[in-house]
């Protein structure tokens, strides 16, 4: 019974807290620009409104157009449920669950790109092509980061693989994971979440034709994914397993908030990258993950 309560509490935390992060990011951006900005809870209002609305779908779309966002949402939530939260171990934990997490995110990506291809729009096809292409480099970076953690901790289970890294490795890994976070969540400098009508965007263009509850699922799933990466980054870098439970949870929350602020600052202070430079930056992110791997591995030889 306690497992059941634990799982539900954890899921509720993910579902309810995740839409805060985009609000925080937008607030930071508004603050840097000297504007008032939308309220921190804006995404909650949006979701509630979308949930009540009807759906308009393309005449070309198959039933998959509605099913795909639902499956993608479940996949992202499932991936989030696998992550331990600081000292509190995940309800499900086994050797190799970290790979399940990576591939659940891939399942979500498959569904989103599928939904984009449904409409037969060249615009959305372009977005899907970019999403799946850049995801290759991001995935290479994630696997490298996971290898670093596995070599450091000697474990491939999420509940025990977040062992404190030595300082330089942790710093490098933090930068690498942050770059991957920006790419995977379609933030500046890879993509601009504010625009709807530019040829250079990725994620927003894939969901152009979605509306109503499926769009709400997509937006909510995107916020959960952002929080998932932030939590992963925080746990990979900070020695959270060495402090008491309450303290570590507070630290984790603070770290996730800091990541959101950092995303907002990057978004305010840098311009979006030229498109052909995107692979270059992702490769840099991969290298930032590779060096800690080499450091950890060579350090023990």
């Amino acid at each position: 019974m306690s497992v059941f309560i634990d799982t539900s509490l954890r899921l509720l935390a993910w579902l309810i807290l995740a839409p805060l992060l985009p609000g925080v990011i937008n607030k930071v951006k508004a603050w840097v620009a000297g504007r008032q900005g939308p309220p921190v809870l804006q995404l909650y209002y949006d979701l509630a409104r979308l949930w009540r609305k009807g759906v308009v779908i393309s005449t070309l779309a198959s039933p998959g157009f509605i099913i795909a966002p639902a499956v993608a949402w479940v996949a992202v939530i499932g991936a989030a449920a696998l992550l331990p939260l600081a000292g509190a171990d995940a309800p499900v934990s086994f050797d190799g669950d970290v790979l399940l997490l990576v591939y659940l995110l891939a399942l979500a990506r498959f569904c989103t790109a599928w939904g984009a291809m449904e409409t037969g729009s060249a615009f959305e096809g372009m977005g899907a092509a970019r999403e799946v292409s850049y995801a290759i480099l991001a995935e290479v970076g994630i696997i490298t980061a996971i290898l670093t953690l596995a070599v450091q901790s000697g474990s491939i289970s999420l509940s025990s693989m977040f062992e404190p890294l030595p300082g330089p490795s942790a710093a490098l890994l933090a930068v690498g994971l942050f770059i991957i976070l920006l790419a995977e969540n379609c933030r500046v400098p890879f993509d601009d979440p504010n625009t709807h009508l530019e040829l250079t965007m990725i994620h927003e263009v894939m969901v152009l034709d979605h509306s109503g509850p499926p769009l709400a699922m997509i937006l909510h799933g995107a916020s959960v994914k952002l929080m998932l990466f932030a939590v992963f980054l925080a746990q990979a870098v900070l020695p959270l397993s060495e402090v008491p439970l309450v303290m570590s949870l507070a630290l984790l929350a603070l770290a996730v908030l800091l990541v959101a602020v950092a995303v907002g600052l990057v978004e305010s202070l840098t311009a979006r990258l030229a498109f052909r430079r995107v692979p270059l930056l992702l490769t840099i992110g991969f290298l930032f993950c590779l060096f800690p791997l080499l450091l950890t591995w060579m350090g023990e030889i």
Partner: protein, 633 residues
């Protein structure tokens, strides 16, 4: 085989009967029954016939039976006597010949008979590939296949002869105690590698798989190339291995995996694309096998067993989903008459079943949970991660292999989004795609059976673990360190949860939205008159990634760009040739032909010249002999 002339109904019944018997026979050793052996009283070619069905052979035989059954059912409708009056009967005959010969390859325990069965298998595959022999492309594909296959057979002749020479008998069995045999594994790697389609040796594979009838492509890709893997697995366990063999196999596996999918991304022909994915998946299997060999070399079976189990399970999985994908591609070809993806589109509406099954296969081949492809990739990954985290000597290879395997998964996902999106989604691009029709019950049934296999392995992988462990134990030939816990139990549970949750949420969403859904044209940022030709094409979809691989893909572009003030028609077409065949094999072959041409100058049909050659040769012989002191008695 005898019933292939007696009419399709009898043929189907007898083929199904035979494969079901073989299926049951194959389950027995995998369920823990002792190895079955049979020795004939008579002899063939001076050797007694020895049939032996052990765990490794049975593992492959099971796959052969499943795909053989599905393909036989499918072909009744797909390659029936009305549409193909001349080749339908021939197809039935060679189908059974191929099933039988592959079954023999898996069971014979004698090198001589192995070669015989191997040759029958190669030749019957050739006749199946060229069923539609009026088409020149098909004949060329068949010819390249036959040539490549015989090059492999040549290597195998040398291999088996060398084995027989060293052991003094044609009989096969464990020979780890004779260290002199180690170098011959390289010969086996060449011979079996050509059949398996390992990267630089895969030249025959894309055209043969693309041009064969689809049920034959399914058998070729699902099972026939696995015979090469079978050879590598079998002799990897029987022969003493050279120290570098594991590294070489794993390296070739990585190259095949990444480059196979890169070439697949460059293709516009549906079946050719699927064929390149076979190269990719063979690569994944080889990574698993290679690391198992490294583990044997280093005496660390505990992670080798995971890699091996992953590679072996991927043999089954790839057989299932690739056969499913080829059968789906066959339905598309059957309904629209084209394999060219840029002429298709929007097929989900006329053929919903095919679209659904194909998508399921696509998700499985991308290694997405909760389907079977993920289970085997996860096992291979676990083996690699275990090798890396325990700081073994293999970490130098395990780290890059894990990273490349991750990249392969993401590349395959990109490729299959392209395929599904361009072929099944959006608007039909041509009239033929518009008029497509769903395939009949036999074709759908065959696809449904394979799809059910994919789902079953994905949701209940733990049930297969004892069988996998048995095969792996037989492969390692030792029991110590083999008490590996069943790591698939939690994965299967997680898969089940995800699948149920996704189904529930999807069903709820669809139900609750049914009442408030409206249809309108694609918004597309307000673009008013979209036409089907304005959709994103397969080439543009893959453009970013193929751009990264131009160094090996070498795409050929034919373009007539608009020029002048009043441009007339413009066109652009591109295709990705088979680089290894076009850039390496063909120039080499042409060079050999050119050199041989020089010899032709001697032969001009004039009697005087031949008499002159005779005299010259006699003179030369005489000169060679007499200065040496004349003929000695």
């Amino acid at each position: 085989m005898a019933t292939s002339h007696a009419g399709p109904r009898w043929w189907t019944a007898s083929t199904l009967g035979g494969t079901v018997c073989a299926f049951i026979a194959a389950i027995l050793p995998l369920a823990g029954n002792p190895v079955w052996e049979w020795r004939s009283e008579w002899s063939l070619g001076g050797e007694q016939v020895l049939l032996r069905l052990d765990e490794i052979g049975a593992f492959f035989l099971l796959l052969l039976c499943v795909v053989g059954m599905a393909g036989a059912v499918y072909s009744r409708e797909y390659w029936n006597g009305t549409a193909h009056p001349r080749s339908a009967r021939r197809g039935r005959l060679w189908w059974n010949a191929m099933l039988l010969s592959m079954g023999l390859v898996l069971t014979v325990g004698n090198g001589l008979h192995f070669l015989l069965a191997w040759e029958i298998f190669a030749v019957s595959a050739y006749f199946l590939v060229t069923l539609d022999r009026e088409n020149p492309d098909v004949r060329t594909a068949g010819w390249v296949y036959l040539a490549a296959s015989h090059l492999g057979t040549l290597a195998l002749f040398a291999f088996f002869a060398a084995l027989a020479g060293h052991t003094g008998s044609w009989e096969l069995g464990p020979m780890r105690h004779i260290p002199a045999l180690a170098p011959f594994y390289w010969l086996a790697l060449l011979g079996f590698g050509i059949k398996a389609g390992i990267f630089p040796l895969h030249i025959w594979l894309p055209s043969a798989h693309a041009n064969a009838p689809s049920h034959v492509s399914a058998l070729m890709s699902g099972v026939a190339i696995k015979m090469g893997i079978f050879g590598l697995v079998r002799f990897g366990s029987w022969l003493p291995l050279p120290a570098a063999a594991g590294w070489a196999v794993a390296g070739l596996g990585c190259a095949s995996a990444v480059l196979g999918v890169a070439f697949a991304l460059g293709q516009h022909d549906l079946k050719r694309l699927l064929a390149y994915h076979s190269v990719e998946n063979i690569g994944i299997i080889l990574i698993g096998l290679g690391f198992a060999m490294i583990a044997v070399d280093q005496g660390r079976p505990e992670w080798g067993i995971l890699a091996l189990a992953g590679g072996l399970l991927h043999v089954w999985n790839h057989g299932l989903f690739k056969a499913l994908l080829f059968l789906g591609a066959g339905s598309v070809l059957h309904a629209t008459g084209t394999r060219e993806m840029s002429r298709l589109g929007g097929l989900w509406r006329p053929m919903p079943w095919t679209a659904g099954f194909f998508t399921l296969g696509a998700m499985a081949i991308c290694g997405l949970p909760p389907l079977n492809g993920f289970v085997s990739e996860w096992l291979v990954f676990s083996g690699l991660f275990d090798a890396a985290r325990h700081q073994t000597d293999a970490v130098l290879a395990a780290v890059p292999a894990a990273i490349l395997l991750g990249a392969t998964g993401a590349l395959a996902l990109a490729c299959f989004i392209k395929v599904c999106g361009v072929v099944f989604l959006g608007a039909p691009r041509t009239e033929s795609a518009h008029k497509a029709h769903e395939c009949g019950p036999a074709m759908r049934g065959a696809m449904a059976a394979l799809a059910a296999g994919c789902i079953a392995i994905g949701l209940a992988p733990a049930l297969l673990w004892p069988a996998l462990l048995r095969v792996a134990k037989a492969w390692f030939g030792a029991d110590e360190g083999m008490a590996a816990a069943n790591r698939l139990v939690p994965l299967g549970a997680a898969h089940l949860c995800i699948a149920l949750l996704a189904l529930a949420v999807a069903a709820l969403t669809v139900r609750s939205l049914r009442a408030r859904t409206a249809r309108a044209v694609t918004w597309d940022c307000g673009y008013a008159i979209p036409t089907a030709r304005m959709q994103y094409t397969a080439e543009s979809f893959a453009g970013i990634i193929t751009g990264w691989f131009t160094w090996i893909l070498r795409p050929v572009v034919h373009a007539g760009l608009p020029e002048g003030f009043f441009p007339t028609r413009a066109h652009r077409a591109s295709h990705t040739p088979e680089t290894v065949l076009e850039r390496i094999v063909r120039p080499c072959a042409l060079a050999i032909l050119k050199i041989s041409d020089l010899a032709r100058g001697f032969q001009q049909g004039r009697t005087q010249a031949y008499i002159f050659y005779l005299c010259a040769a006699l003179l030369a012989l005489a000169l060679a002999v007499f200065p040496g002191g004349g003929l000695k008695p």
